[in-house]
Amino acid sequence: MKVQDLMEILSARCLTCQANLEAEVSCGYACDLLSWVLAHGRKGMAWATVQTHLNVIAVAVLMEMACVILVEGVLPEEATLRKAEEEGLAILSSDKTAYELCGLMAKAGVLPPEA
């Protein structure tokens, strides 16, 4: 599954113009503690969070994630968006809760990260 397929499944929109929507989604995750995400992050992960600051991009890029999904309509800071554009990382936005988004991902066959 690609990021653009995930967007359709979640009815999410992409906030970054330069993003690679062809990136392959390998697994899904929801968490707002960055160290926790660092411990469980994987290449190709779709990560749902309410965090909107710059360090979200640093973690996502370090982990080579496929996309970040900002939940419940939270909007990223200007600098966050700019950094994501620079890195070609997709930032998706949805009004749904992380719970609902994970439910939709699970239903579509997106797995949790392997232990």
Binding site: S35, W36, L38, K43, N55, A58, L62
Partner: protein, 149 residues
């Protein structure tokens, strides 16, 4: 004599969350160019990011140094204080003394040091209150599964 192929040092300023992750990203970029095995690179990335964040959150200022030899990569985190009073406690998962500001950003989960230890092949921490903290981590660059040579 030991051959060190690459040495790099990054200064990390306390409290500067805006540039957080730049040193780790730079280390990763360099090592990727050198063609380091991606599983090892991932572990080095996590450990260096956690070390960098710890310097930003807790230290009075410090540096991150990487040293590469043909067989291993070493990461050193050194700071000028304040030092950790109870290192054993600090190594426990979930224990954190991070500020409210850091916690609001999603840090301070008490996973930093445990994440470093888990990802490194060798981990050593030395700390003295009033002096500072030094962390030394080693990552083998050759897969151990290949057996002795």
């Amino acid at each position: 004599m030991e051959e060190i192929a690459l040495v790099d040092t990054y200064q990390v300023r306390p409290g500067d969350f805006r540039t957080a992750g730049e040193a780790a990203a730079s280390i990763k970029r360099k090592l990727k160019q050198l063609g380091i095995n991606s599983a090892v690179l991932r572990r080095i990335s996590v450990a260096s990011y956690e070390a960098e964040l710890n310097l930003i959150i807790h230290s009075f200022g410090g540096s991150l140094t990487m040293e590469m030899t043909p067989v291993e990569l070493r990461l050193y985190s050194r700071d000028i204080g304040p030092g950790i009073a109870d290192v054993d406690k600090a190594m426990e998962e979930g224990y954190s003394t991070a500020s409210e500001e850091a916690r609001d950003l999603g840090f301070g989960a008490g996973m930093g040091l445990p994440n470093m230890r888990r990802n490194a092949d060798a981990f050593r921490i030395q700390s003295k209150v009033g002096k500072g903290t030094t962390i030394e981590m080693c990552f083998a660059l050759q897969p151990a599964a290949e057996g002795s040579r």
